[in-house]
Structure formats: C-alpha cells, structure tokens
C-alpha cells in the first residue's frame, strides 16, 4: 500500500490549538503550552453524550411553543411546525420552506449524519471514508444555520412591541431549540474526523 504514513507511525502528533507538529512523547506544546493529544480525547463518548442530549432537547423544542403572537387582543402561541404550516397556508411558501429547512431539516440531518459517523467509526467501517469525511465538514458548516430560527424569534420579539396592537413574545421552546443547536454544534466539534481514517490501521488509538 502506497498510502502516506500516519503521524503516529512517524512518532508525531498535532497540537489542537496551534497546529504545531510535536513529538508524540511530549505532553505540552512547546509553542503554546497546551496539552497535546494524538486524537481528541474521549471524542466518541463526548459526541455521543452531546448528541443524545441534543436529541432529548429536540423534543420539547418542537412540542413547546416558541413564540406568542398577540394581534389586537387575539393571542396565540405557535410551535415551530405550526408556524411553518401557518406560513404555508398563508401563501408565503418560500418563508415556510426556509424555516422548515433551517429548523427541521438541518437539525435532523445533523442528528442523522453524526449518528452515522459515530456508528461507522465505532464499527471501524472502511465504507466510503472520503465521503464520510466530506459529510463531516458539511455538518460543521451548516451547523450554525439552525440558529436562524432563534435569531428570527429574538429579532421579532424585540421589534414587535406595539402594546395593544400587537405583541410578540418568545416562549420556552425557543430556548430548547437554541440549546439543541448549541449541543449539536458542540457534538460536531468534539467529533474527531481523523477517527474515520483510523479504521485503516488497527493499532492506532
């Protein structure tokens, strides 16, 4: 096999903070004094834990109302999905699609992809390793777009305060939703994509 050698085979490791290549037997980065690890420590467990936490919080985030709209004394609370349905019925299908993608599709894709990565890594699968690696980078990039919902609610609640005419207030669901986004982002961060490739070698880790 003419594959390039692994850093561990050459007795090297990468500093997580400043990306300096250090010797494997040093414990501190000689440049930035941060602790050195060959791989992110406890990566799989942390990712699992954060992912499960996010999954649990995703339930109240969708079931609880995220926004309270009071138009001329006619108050109503809306969850994420009911908001999407309302926009769709109201004819603004573009906004409905946008919110649906940002608050339902993206988190679900993240749960699915992260779970897939974790399972395949634990099973030391060698299936589609470059694609999985690309998938991980994709997850990292789209992660924060889910905050769109939180931002919309925060912005609208701050702007629409006309007393009796109309008032919009955030509700508890948006807090859970924000936590879901943060936890999935943290889960993605704590996942070490190099583990995907470790399946090629039996003795690494």
């Amino acid at each position: 096999m003419s594959a390039p050698p692994y850093a561990g085979e050459l007795g090297l490791q990468l500093c997580h903070t400043c990306d300096k290549v250090c010797l494997l037997d040093t414990h501190e980065c000689p440049r930035c004094w941060s602790v050195l690890h060959p791989r992110k420590p406890n990566s799989l467990v942390r990712t699992w834990a954060l992912l499960i936490g996010a999954l649990i919080l995703y339930l109240p985030a969708n079931l609880l109302p995220v926004m309270y709209t009071d138009m001329l004394g006619n108050g109503s609370e809306s969850t994420i999905l009911s908001g999407v349905i309302e926009f769709w019925r109201g004819g603004s299908w573009d906004i409905a699609v946008l919110i649906f993608i940002a608050s339902v599709v993206v988190p679900c894709i993240k749960f699915f992809v992260l779970g897939l990565l974790l399972v395949t890594v634990q099973r030391r699968s060698r299936w589609a390793m470059p694609e999985r690696s690309r998938l991980y980078r994709f997850i990292e990039i789209i992660g924060y777009w889910s905050m769109l919902d939180v931002l919309v609610v925060a912005l609208v609640a701050a702007l629409v305060q006309f007393r009796a005419l109309s008032t919009i207030e955030p509700r508890l669901g948006i807090l859970f939703f924000g936590l879901v986004v943060v936890l999935t982002m943290m889960a993605a961060m704590s996942f070490d994509p190099r583990l995907i490739w470790d399946a090629e070698k039996n003795d690494v880790r």
């Binding site: 834990a49 936490g53 919080l57 109240p60 001329l72 006619n74």
Partner: protein, 558 residues
C-alpha cells in the same frame, strides 16, 4: 527503608503516578442526563398542572377555533378549546375544552358555558372587544355538588351570572308581548333586574316568565306586589287631558316589566324566592283592586251589532263592570230572524259599596244572590243596550241602565248563564226617527206640486217673451228721445249761447230792479215826507250818481 527521607538514592525520578479514574464514565454524560431531567420535569409539571377536560356542545362553531379560543371567567383565562368535533348525529358541535388546574368549580353540574360574540340588541351592545380579538367562551361556575364532563352550551349569555345576589320570581301571563331574555325590570323606573328566561306553560295556555331581581331591591318585591308589562307607550286621553306614559326609551324598544306594591297594601313582607305572580298588561290593571270572581251573562240583541268587539266594555250606570267576551249569531225559528247573542264577563265586586249593601238585603249565597239581585234590577227596568262609544269609529259598548218605560219581560233567575233583557240601542232609535221623517216626506204630493210648478214656469216664460218682443223696443226709442232732449238742454245751457246771454242779462236787470227797490225803500225810510212832497234836489241817493256799479254799492253797504 532508610531513615533519611532525603536519601539521594530515594530521590530518583520514578515513574509518574498514573491515577486511573475509578469511575470510567465521562462527565460529559451529564449533558444528556440534565436534558432528560429537564424534559421529564416538564412532562411531570404539565401532567400535574393539567386541569379537567370537559366537552361543551353548541349549535354552531361560529367564532370557535381549536387551540385558539379561550375560556374566560371574569375575563380571566381558565382554559382553552383543544378541539372541535361534530356530534354523532351532526346536529351540534362539541368543543373539547381543557380547563386549567384549579378550575374544578367549572365542572359542576350547573356550570354554564356560552360563546361571547359581539351582540347588538335593543338593550345595548355587548362583546365589542371580541370584534377584534375573536370570540371566546364565557364560563360561569356553579355551586352544585355533582360534577360532570359534558355540558350543553347556552346560545345566549346568561343574564344572571354566578354569585349575584338577588331573588328569582315567576310571572304568569297570557302572552309574552315584546319581552325577551334580558328585558329590564323596573322599580319606580330604576332598573333592578331582568328577565332570565321564558317558557310556555305546560298546558300551552300561557307564558311563564322567570325574572331576577338584584340584591338590595329584591326586598321590595312583597307578597302583594303587582307586576305589569311596561313595554311600549301608554297613551291615554282623559277628561284632564292627553297623557303619554312610558318607562324608558329602552323599555319601549326592548320591552320591560315594572312592579310596585299598591299603596294601600297592609304591612308587606318580602316575597319568598321563586314565588309566582300574575303579570298584568298595564299599570292601571295591575294596581286595580282585586276584581273577585267573574260572572258570565248573556244578552240577546235583535239588531245588527256592527262595531261591537270582543273586549268592549260593559258599563253599569257608567261604571265599567266587565267586558264582552263573545259575540255570536243565533237563529230564531219563530221569528225567522238572526238575533245576536253577546256574552260578557261581569265582575260584581267592581260595584264596590253598592254591591255590599245590595247583597246584604238578599239571602242566599254567591251566584244565587247575584242572580236574585239581577232579577230585582230587571224588574226595576234594567236593560242592556248597545250604545255608540265613539261616533267616528262606530265602536259600540254595552250599557246596563234602568229604563222605566221598558216593556216588562220575563226574567229567569235560575237560568245559567243569566240572560239580561235588552232594548234597542240609542243609535237604533235615531235610525227609527229618521225613518219616520223619511216616511212623512214620501207622503207629500210631490208629483202634482211639480206639475203646478211646471205650468207656472211656462206662464212666466210667455210673459217674458212678450216683454222681450214689444216692450223693450219701445223702451229703447224712448231712451233715444230723452237723450236728444238732454242734448238740447245741454246746448242751451252752454257758454256763449244766446239763451244763456239773455238769461244773464235778465238776471242783471232783475238785480238792478231789486236794488232800486231797496234804495227806494231806504230813501223812503229816511224821508217819508217825500211821498207827499217829492224829492228834494240835495238829497239824491249817492248810488244814482253816474258810474256806480252794484259791486261798489255792495262795498258801501257793508
């Protein structure tokens, strides 16, 4: 082991002490555990705070929306509609309502639910705020012991809400008039309550109206309080003028009930809750003393009774003592005529003191005594007569009066109903008299009169023709001649005509002659001797000097 702890041999750098964590579970697992705990606590809290679930059925779901419509009591949200379904027979809609925790009072059997919508009625406008905010379900708790989960919603808001102090009463009336649920109750024109509900009585022959009188005023409803219908305008034309009597504008529009105890009521005590009263048509009826039992009498008239309506008054010597209840046509086989049988209700108690005194003279009881009294009256000449009460409309009323010239009739005091004998009405008399006049007129020899008149007129025409033919032309020539004469006279009298000149001269001559005579007489007065001696030369009168005129003479004389 060495005693010296700083022994160089023992200070070598040994293997680092690697401590293994006894529990190999990462702290990061706290995140999902906390998340699960939070979720679980919310589920538990949700479960704990969930109130009772009830269903309320309405006729229509107008204004109701699932998950949106709220249930309010005193404008406090106590629950919300979670779903709307049709009933199995599809006649009603069923709103599933999730009440908040602590609203168990609203599941009691007599709790009430209704939809608050904007309503505009004669008695006012309500629910305006729901125009903007949308309808909501109003709730009213009950105080019954039992609870239930299925309610039947009211279509109208209940006029009396829970906890309002006051009393309910029942009114009986023959028809509802313009009353409705919510119609106000007035006491001395102050609104003190309202109509709560109404229903037909069980036999369908009347209306039972439930009213509610609010707390401080309910004590004024006493055991002999009279209620009357205060709807509409009461216009009366009496001897003292024209009167319009109303309660309030809203009572005119929406109807209303007023009540009051008669002034003469002896020590009144507040009526008990739920007591039934009679609802009178107007105040004068309500405040009138009790009429006592009514007696049914019949009268048989042999003439047309056009203008006699049911409810027309029956008067006894001008006092209204009853009213007509039936006007029926009858057929008399003997005379082959159609008499009219009038039935009337008479209230003997309306005779007041007269009744008591009269009845005291007669033995017997109740109806028997009245019949005997009537017999006495009929023997004295009491007759019924249909009289014209209103000349414009021709309305008739029945008058009971004593007519001493009335022919005697047989009166059966034991017949039921009593049959009061009648005499023809005043209007009929007038008609008879008119008939007599017409008869006399028809007896006149109008034909011969007309013939004579015609002959006379012919004579007159001939005379006139004569006058036209001969007299008039002669008259015309006479006139022409007289006109000529007048013209001649005129000409003779005109200025510068010789006749006039002669006349003037003649007159002047005459004037002079007269003057001469006067001068002569003056002269003779002064010189009487001249008659004998003649006139002396020196004594000539100055006026005979030359140039003297009559005018100068005049000035001299004056």
């Amino acid at each position: 082991m060495s005693d010296n702890p700083y022994d160089p041999a023992s200070t070598r750098t040994g293997e680092p002490d690697i401590r293994q964590r006894r529990v190999r579970i990462s702290l990061v697992w706290l995140v999902p555990i906390v998340a699960a705990l939070v979720g679980l606590s919310m589920v538990v809290q949700n479960w704990l705070s969930a109130g009772p679930q009830i269903t309320v059925s309405f006729l229509t779901a107008e204004g109701l929306e699932a998950n949106k419509t709220q249930v309010k009591y005193k404008n406090v949200v106590i629950g919300r509609v979670t779903g709307i379904t049709l009933s199995e027979d599809r006649t009603r809609v069923i709103a599933n309502i999730e009440l908040d925790q602590g609203s168990e009072a609203f599941t009691r059997e007599d709790a009430q639910f209704w939809v608050v919508r904007p309503r505009i009625g004669a008695s006012g406008v309500s629910g305006v705020d729901t125009l903007l905010s949308g309808s909501f379900i109003g709730a009213d708790p009950g105080d019954a012991q039992g609870t239930q989960r299925e309610f039947i919603g009211l279509e109208e808001p209940p006029p009396v809400t829970f906890g309002v102090e006051g009393k309910r009463f029942t009114l009986r009336t023959s028809d509802l008039g313009s009353l409705g649920v919510g119609s106000p109750i007035y006491y001395r024109r102050i609104p003190v309550g309202q109509v709560v509900s109404y229903a037909l009585s069980d036999d369908g022959k009347g209306v039972v109206v439930q009213i509610f009188v609010n707390a401080p005023y309910d004590d004024f409803v006493t055991s002999d309080t009279r209620f009357w219908n205060a709807s509409g305008v009461d216009v009366s034309l009496a001897a003292d003028g024209f009167k319009v009597n109303t309660q309030s504008l809203s009572a005119i529009l929406a109807g209303g009930i007023a009540f009051r105890a008669p002034n003469y009521s002896p020590d009144p005590e507040p009526a008990a809750e739920g007591r039934a009263f009679q609802l009178f048509n107007d105040m004068s009826q309500a405040m009138a003393p009790d009429d006592g039992p009514a007696r049914f009498v019949q009268m048989r008239f042999d003439q047309t009774l056009r203008g006699l309506n049911v409810d027309a008054p029956v008067e006894f010597l001008g006092v209204p003592i009853g009213h007509v209840v039936a006007v029926d046509l009858d057929y008399d086989e003997q005379s082959k005529s159609f008499p009219v049988v009038v039935g009337a209700l008479i209230y003997p108690n309306r005779l007041g003191g007269a009744q008591d005194k009269l009845l005291a003279q007669i033995d017997g009881d109740g109806e028997e005594r009245n019949a005997q009294l009537m017999q006495v009256f009929v023997e004295r000449g009491l007759r019924a007569q249909a009289r014209t009460g209103n000349l414009l409309t021709g309305q008739l009323y029945i008058s009971l009066d004593f007519d001493r010239r009335a022919p005697a009739v047989v009166f059966d005091a034991h017949a039921r109903p009593l049959m009061i004998p009648t005499i023809p009405g005043s209007f009929d008399k007038l008609q008879e008299q008119l008939q007599a006049v017409v008869d006399k007129l028809s007896k006149l020899p109008i034909d011969s009169l007309a013939n004579n008149l015609d002959g006379s007129l012919n004579e007159l025409r001939k005379t006139m023709e004569q006058v036209n033919g001969s007299v008039l032309p002669q008259l015309q020539s006479t006139l022409e001649r007289s006109e000529q004469t007048l013209q001649n006279a005129n000409r003779a009298m005109a200025d510068g005509s010789p006749q006039r000149q002669q006349l003037t001269d003649t007159l002047e001559e005459m004037q002079r002659a007269v003057r001469s005579v006067r001068v002569l007489s003056d002269y003779l007065g002064r010189h009487p001797e001249s008659l004998i001696r003649g006139r002396g030369n020196d004594a000539a009168p100055p006026s005979f000097k030359g140039g003297a005129t009559s005018r100068e003479l005049n000035t001299e004389l004056q």
